[in-house]
Subunit: 418 residues, 2 copies
Amino acid sequence: MIRIEIVTIGGEILSGRTSDTNFAFLARGLAAHGLACRWHTSVPDDRDALIESLEAALARADVVITTGGLGATPDDITRKSLATVLKRQLVLREDVLHAIEERFARMGRTVPANMQAQALIPLGAELIPNPVGVAPGLKIVAGDNHILFALPGVPYEMEAIAARSVLPMIASLDPETRLAERTLRTAGVSEMRLAEIVAPMVPREVGVAYLPHLGTVDLRFSLAGRPAEAQDALDRIVAPIRERIADAIYAEGTTDLQGALGNELVSRGWTMATAESLTGGRVGGRIVSVSGSSRYYLGGIVAYGNRAKVTLLGVPEAWIREHGAVSEPVARAMAHGARERLGAHVAISTTGVAGPTGGTEEKPVGLVWFGVETPTGSAAIRRQLPGDREQVIERTVLIACDLARRAICGFRIEERQA
Amino acid sequence: MIRIEIVTIGGEILSGRTSDTNFAFLARGLAAHGLACRWHTSVPDDRDALIESLEAALARADVVITTGGLGATPDDITRKSLATVLKRQLVLREDVLHAIEERFARMGRTVPANMQAQALIPLGAELIPNPVGVAPGLKIVAGDNHILFALPGVPYEMEAIAARSVLPMIASLDPETRLAERTLRTAGVSEMRLAEIVAPMVPREVGVAYLPHLGTVDLRFSLAGRPAEAQDALDRIVAPIRERIADAIYAEGTTDLQGALGNELVSRGWTMATAESLTGGRVGGRIVSVSGSSRYYLGGIVAYGNRAKVTLLGVPEAWIREHGAVSEPVARAMAHGARERLGAHVAISTTGVAGPTGGTEEKPVGLVWFGVETPTGSAAIRRQLPGDREQVIERTVLIACDLARRAICGFRIEERQA
């Protein structure tokens, strides 16, 4: 496989307050071409830091892609740093200058003095056309067959140059090797339990990543090889794994849990309602993230306080007094009330202690009861969830969606902790 | 300033499909301690790639923080790679093993064989307690005063260890230089308008970042210097800016919009309810992210379909027929219905076209009506929101929270588009 490094340049990324969309675009673009990014480095607008990163990148990677620092402002340092690292002079390229002048002339403006800096290019660099902006991309072959691509940092310019020119160029370097991928998305089974089942079923040459996210785990399998062969081989390896953990798999590829739930409802022509306490509306909020969810989601009742549970969902007040709001009978009554009041085929309910306060010895923080009612029956499950308030709530949302999916599909519901 | 590098380990980040929340948490945490991250590297679950990155990081940075690869699954490679790079043996730490066994014993389970790998630690490493999970963090002093911290990749474990131990340790290394920061959090005013007002009021030496996020904009001011002096100087500069844009500021520092809303409700002893259509419950779901929100949030009704608007919120069917579900009278009636049915002081409502389908010439995708009712009156506003389905829904949640805040505070509500 070609060893690829992406170096993103700019201060805001390193502050942690902005996500690195340029990197994400390039990484996804590489994956779409069956390639993988091996290293990603972010550096601030600082010449020394950039030079050190470029040296490290050119030492280890076959292909280096940089984004950012190609503009005309003082913090645009990529061209100078490249010249230093590659030990090449910067030359004023008349063709670039001319293109800049033409672009400004079309806008009826003269070229600002500092824009000339954009025409200073390391000797021997090949220009890559920028269809949507001033600064072209650069392609530089360095020493013993390392290739460096320098792209501007403005996302839509970077994306245009990368998609049109850079990604196809990289893909053509080694058309014989590709990374085939399959992703199985699971819910309700722990990462460790999945690893116990899956690891022995996977041959050495296949990569397996366990990607946990608050109660769901993606299993991503990858195999490098000749394009068609690798995919076929991978499919043969994944098939028995898929069968072995069938109940846990809610989707393959990029479909999410709420999308999978929606598909099950649509295929049966069923509608759905929600009755939420600790999640405050987030189960419904998750369901409506699916475009077209109005075909099956009717709505719900957020009964955060006990009074709302009684008046809006018809939970008997005595049950709350006897069993507490976080209890099996209340979870069941909430699902029943929502199903009846909304006139839906399926209803799901959540009631629990999100914390960090409000826990007791008998009902600790993280205790959640779920109820579900469908045309064929009802069930309730109890879970003791780890994490802080936000995590307890988010885990509850996922478990609720998965419980609804399992109940609709008629899978066995495990009443004990999974 | 201390030169800090963060190395995040795991295949999913490099695929571009997941944003690097561990990096973001650490970078923000460093900033909160007046420190800055100088390099950020992401590497896949690949031993060679990780070893090369660790070597580069230890060569250039004073402090290296790694996240990920400390678990018990086969793709967890950090401990072995550290041992290679630092040329140290892995030793089985009985104390770690014992802690793991105790943890499993408390859950009534025996330790799986592969968990023992978590007790293999490079010789000389100091353990950093993990208050919420099994794998401890590691602190290793390497050669000439480079310090390496290895943290687990599971976000809430990483965050707990970093916040409690690692960030304070790093901050104590050089207490004489700090970056003073102030953040004003605003809603309802565009980034461009804020820049027009703020930029002329800020002296050259102060950094200003405009950090927009779906309808809210954080203004971050920063100034480097000796700890107390820099903070005093910055406070003097920010004071008049604060006054100039007072209505738009919902909070300072890290308090979020729902927290600010909660504070206004608590200070008045008021309660709140929600009536949601296109947001599907996310306004309530946002409100309950605040610990203690049960003091003021009673609950709400998610009326996604029109029938639920009529039966559960008492919206007159004729109004939906005449004006459509996305209209001022329906938004007002929804807020009124929720306020009455939940018995709350304040109610907020949302109804709109989230898209991508369902738009018409008269009611295009992105059109949203909001209603609010308080003990002192009611209002409705109309907004035409940009972005895809997810962005329209999320912008709606923020605007709803800000509208409730402004109505409670008695600020003037601008009926026209801001």
